[in-house]
Amino acid sequence: MKKYHSSYAKKRTFKSALVEKTVKYFFFLNGMISVLFLLLIILFLFKEAISAISGIGIAEFFKNVQWYPTSDAPRYSIIPLLYGTLLTAIPATIISSFLGIILGVYLSEIASGRTREIIKPFIEIFAGLPTVVIGFLILAVGSTFFQELFNTGTRLNALLAAFGLSIILIPTISSLTEDALRAVPDNLRMASYSLGINKFSTIRNVVIPAAISGVSAGIILGFGRAIGETMIVLMASGNAAELTLNLLHSVRTITATIAGELGEVAYGSPHYYSLFFIGTFLLIITFVINLISELIIARMRKKLKKMN
């Protein structure tokens, strides 16, 4: 009797251990799918980019400063595209950092509880607006308005795209700023107030410095988004691959180039590979930017732990 019992129990535990192991393995494999696709993206893009380098030559991408992939003497320089990308992304980051940080400060330090409870979800919902909608509105309303305001020659230009980008970056930056400011322990504010320092000086000299890594991580993340965003720049920047530093000129970004040309390119042509080359370039840039902002956030967490 006793013997039967123990062997039965053994059998059971053995079986359930097997089930548990299988279950665990199953979930593990699912988890690895993200790893797999990240690797696939990297490998695939790099493979095609290397084909581009061996076919066209790496030098071609960085000299000549012209992007004319479809002309008889094709030119594949990434430089004007890089100019276009930065000429839209940098002003957008500046504008949206300014307004986004102010909005974050307002939500974290100034707004009353009820106001915040209305505005915050509104901003969050607004942040989910498809970017093509912003692009459309810029074409429909912004461009004419803008042309009259600045009296620009071209209806579509870098600054207009930068404004469009700002609209989607502001929610990102403001919510990251707010999170960072709220993580600052309240007793630091109290310390400042008890010394007879007023609210604005407290925000400027205590709260923001204590949260500076979080705020800058938000800015960097916003910059990364600006570089990677496609629809707004595709619709608003004018798409002329011009080597210019004038914000009121049409420019062409890396993302818009891929979006605009991939549909018409012949598979296996130098033009096809060149698009993968600039895509890989974009992937590397955004990867580095995201890495930097993550490192900053990790450092901030450490620092906040020490403060508490």
Binding site: V19, E20, K24, F26, F27, F28, N30, G31, M32, I33, S34, V35, L40, I41, F44, L45, E48, L99, I102, L103, Y106, I110, A111, I119, P121, F122, I123, I125, G128, L129, P130, T131, V132, V133, G135, F136, L137, A140, V141, I167, N198, K199, F200, I227, G228, T230, M231, M235, T255, I258, A259, L262, G263, F276, G279, L282, L283, T286, F287, N290
Partner: protein, 327 residues
């Protein structure tokens, strides 16, 4: 008696507190300007778009120059692509999150998976689209064609490849939100279940998952909203300029024909339709009301989805807070 207090308290710290007031109010002002701009953006779309919304517009078929007719196929196409995307991404995303939160200790594999999810979330959508085109269409699709001898059937842009690409795009969203949802479930539930002798799998199946359902649903809704709004990756993955027929195939059961989504077909898509209408239209003023109308439909769908997600998350948090407080 010392007079430090008396002498100093009446001193107006004048300029100092005036500057303070000005700056605080300036912050208020700028914040309100931003909010008002956001409201104006939505208001403009509603104001201009609401006029063309009617049943014919929502269900009708676009006429040749897309200045007449409706956006029925675009709505259908958007739903078809999103549906298949969800089928591909949701199970994998939820299972991944379960692995991350319930199984993995702080091991090499956990860190690798977490890092990959984070990196994947940071890849620009256009790059994912580029990958989807090169990998799914040109590599996977063409391979299938050459194996099955189907000619140029799979190796071209189609719903299935758009869905697969969008699935890769939203996978991190689902994983991150679900992990958060699982993570926020009070530890006591787990302990109670395991303490009763339930196995890990039983605990997950009967305790964790039901508890996390609203949280998981939040992730699914956010993923859906994001995929509906993404335009760049699907531009070269089969979204069509003008396609009066719905991408359907018929399952022939001799006595009845059941329509199913044809995953190998091309499709119309709301977001892409907006892009096309506003950039390629030969007569922009004529089509402008339709542009606003289409935009309004897209905006309402995504806003409602996001709103639902926020409400779900809010309620989910509240429930768990109550449970935690009562412990």
């Amino acid at each position: 008696m010392n007079n430090r207090f008396k002498e100093n308290i009446k001193k107006k710290s004048s300029s100092d507190s005036i500057i303070d007031k000005i700056m605080i109010n300036a912050i208020r002002l700028f914040s309100f300007i931003v909010i008002i701009i956001f409201i104006l953006i939505l208001g403009k779309i509603f104001y201009e778009g609401i006029g063309v919304i009617n049943w014919n517009f929502l269900t009708g078929i676009p006429k040749s120059d897309i200045s007449k007719g409706g956006i029925g196929p675009a709505i259908f196409g958007t739903m078809a692509v999103s549906l298949i995307m969800l089928i591909l991404a949701v199970p994998v995303g939820i299972f991944s999150a379960i692995y991350i939160n319930e199984f993995a200790k702080d091991t090499f594999w956990l860190r690798l998976i977490r890092a990959s999810v984070n990196s994947l979330a940071g890849v620009p959508s256009i790059v994912i689209g580029l990958f989807g085109f090169g990998f799914f269409v040109l590599f996977v699709g063409k391979s299938i064609d050459s194996i099955l001898q189907t000619g140029m059937f799979f190796g071209q842009p189609a719903i299935i490849w758009a869905s697969a690409t969008l699935a890769v795009l939203v996978l991190p969203t689902i994983i991150v939100t679900t992990t958060e949802a699982l993570n926020s479930i009070p530890l006591t539930f787990r302990q109670a279940s395991l303490g009763l002798g339930a196995s890990k799998w039983q605990t997950i199946r009967y305790v964790i998952l039901p508890q996390a359902r609203p949280g998981i649903l939040t992730g699914v809704i956010l993923a859906l909203s994001r995929s509906i709004g993404e335009t760049a990756p699907i531009m070269f993955l089969g979204s069509a300029f003008f396609l009066p027929n719905l991408p359907l195939a018929y399952l022939d059961l001799s006595f009845i024909q059941i329509p199913i989504i044809n995953p190998a077909d091309q499709f119309m898509h709301l977001a892409y339709h907006i892009f096309i209408l506003s950039t390629q239209s030969s007569n922009p003023t004529l089509t402008e009301p339709f542009q606003y109308g289409t935009t309004l439909v897209l905006v309402v769908i995504t806003l409602l989805l996001n709103l639902t997600a926020i409400i779900f998350r809010f309620r989910f948090r509240k429930i768990n807070e109550v449970v935690k407080r009562n412990q």
